[in-house]
Each structure stands twice: as C-alpha cells, then as structure tokens.
Subunit: 188 residues, 2 copies
C-alpha cells in the first residue's frame, strides 16, 4: 500500500519555560507555516545547538509549545556535534543526550533532551481498521530508485488527530534519495 512521506530536518520543541529563557519573558512563537500533522507548525524562530565539539545554527523551532523541551537531530548531525543520542519516540527523554541551546535572549543547558527520532507512521484508529494495520507491529517501507532499499522497524503512532503519514529523518531520506511528499510503499 502507498504512504506519503514527511522528511523531518533537525528541529526543536520547547516548553514554555525554556521558550522564555531563550526568547524573553511572555514570548509567543510566530507561525511560519503549518506542518502536515494538524496543529503542528514551523516557527519563524531558530536557535543554535551547541556541544563541546561543535555547534549547528538555525535549528528551527516547531510549535506549539509542549510540556517538555526536545531536540531532534540526525546521526549525521550527531557526528558533527560529537554526541551519541539514542533512537527514541517523542517525549521519551530519560538519559538522552545533553545539549546547550542558544537563543537571542539567553541559553539553556539541557542535561538530557536530544534524541534521534524513531521512524514512525502517524495513523488514526480509523486508518488502522481501514488498512488492516497492527499497532503492535513494526513495519517495512520499500523505496524504489537508484539508491532504493527498505527502511525497517517503523512504528505506528496512533492519535485520532493524525494525518496518515510516514516520518523519517534526513539521513533516511538522503540515503534513499527520498524527498518530502514522496509516495513510498508500506509493506503490510
């Protein structure tokens, strides 16, 4: 079956407290554009993420504010920064990598919060029924083309507000020459 892909570049989610430390008291995020998942949006705001080894500028903030701060990067970014973040679901931050985040009005030293995001598929309960999927299963996604292959161990992430979509990081996308919005084959 076919599935649309969303490619996630490195980005950061902020809790209200950290947003204010980075951008100032009572600061409100400014929407740049809506993302595919309902309610999520890319913001005008960017930050610098920094480690002892190196830093990466212009890391996009994704809104709205959450109740945790989370930095999502690729393995390629992790090498640049000299850190070894775990592969995690959103919000599962225990013992993930520490990182410094720098904004225009201040900086925060996260003891943990930097992860490489797990490949996942956003689905509703209705999608699960409709496509005969299994929430407990890990899926393979098949990619054609000159650098094709298979992306394995893709989890389902279920919420009735979700739009049916595969989320992968830039390493997965670039390895297989996949672009945002491409249609791939989900093996069921």
């Amino acid at each position: 079956m076919e599935i649309k892909v969303g490619v996630s570049n490195r980005h950061i989610h902020l809790c209200k407290e950290d947003l204010e430390k980075l951008f100032g008291n009572n600061y409100e995020l400014v929407k740049l554009k809506d993302l595919t998942q309902p309610g999520q949006f890319a913001c005008n705001e960017v930050v610098t993420i920094k480690t002892e080894k190196n830093e990466i500028e212009k890391v996009r903030v994704v809104g709205p504010v959450r109740n945790y701060t989370q930095v999502e990067i690729s393995k390629t970014d992790a090498y640049i920064l000299g850190i070894n973040p775990p592969i995690r679901d959103s919000g599962d931050l225990k013992n993930s990598s520490g990182i410094t985040v720098i904004g225009p009005k201040g900086s925060i030293d996260l003891k943990e919060g930097c992860i490489i995001p797990n490949r996942h598929i956003h689905v509703t309960k209705e999608d699960i029924k409709k496509y005969n999927l299994d929430e407990s299963k890990l899926y393979d996604v098949i990619i054609k083309g000159e650098k094709g292959g298979v992306i394995s161990k893709v989890k389902l992430k279920v919420d009735d507000n979700y739009l049916f979509e595969l989320h992968i990081d830039t390493d997965d996308a670039n390895a297989h020459l996949v672009k945002n919005g491409d249609i791939l084959e989900l093996k069921n």
Copy 2:
C-alpha cells in the same frame, strides 16, 4: 553471507595536472594512511569544494593520482552545496555536476566531475567463484539494529587486486547506524 563495510566520507581523486594546479608544480601527495583497497590511501592534503550556494572545507584527497579528477559527495552534501549530482560509478563523469575545487596554490573550475558514488562491492574473480556471485546482478545488503533495513541495487566491481568489501556513503551508513568496519549481511 557476511560482508565487511567501508564507509566513504566525501573525498576527491585528482589527476596530475589538477594536483599541480591546486598544490603547486611537481607536487607529490603525502600518504596519511592506507585505505582497505590495496594501493589506495588517504592523503594529508585537503581541499575546499565550492558552488554558488556554499562551500565545504577539508575534503580529503585520496591517492594515488588518477587519470581523471573526481569529487565524491553524499546527497546531504549535495543539498548543502545546492547541486544535484548523478549516482555514478567511479570514472563515469559525463554530464556529472560542475564544482570549484580550491587548494593552497590555486583553484580549478570543473565543468563536470562531481558525483554521488554508486553503492558497490569490491570483489576478485576468485571471490565471485568462491561465494557463487553473479557479476551482472544487483545485490541487497541487510542491516540489523534500531534503524535497520536494506540497501539495494549494490553492484559488483571486479578486479583481482580488490579486497572483498562493501562501499557505501555516509548517508547510507548514518541512516542505518552503520560504522566503518561493521559486518553486514549480503543476500545472495
């Protein structure tokens, strides 16, 4: 069957003429360390590669000199540089991307020469017999682990001086959390 992997970071091969333009007349490459494939070596020398959009510094020269100059980058690098190089075998440079190469003594504007290297396996004729491989076939390589999957359409590259080894780029490696020297499964 098992196969050892060599991960190729971005690098450049130089012909004698271009080596001299970049590093000076009668310049000779200085070996930093031997690579796995017999006769190939990483050099002390690095160059900057540059496009209208951006540049990447410290691109390693791989020796010895060849009869053509070739820049090998990943798709991730290609996005940074704003170019769209084809996926190619070494030496197949017709209509590949143009790029500027800057050395300490001069620079060259390549009209073509920048590629994303094809995934390939170095084999000898003896390996082909021993492992019952087929030179005309494209192979799948299976990767375990949290971001596992399959790397497809892997070509065989046959030469009796070769050491049996899979070569992939940093995008393939990082997408699947593969490191240089890892052992992967070649599906035969």
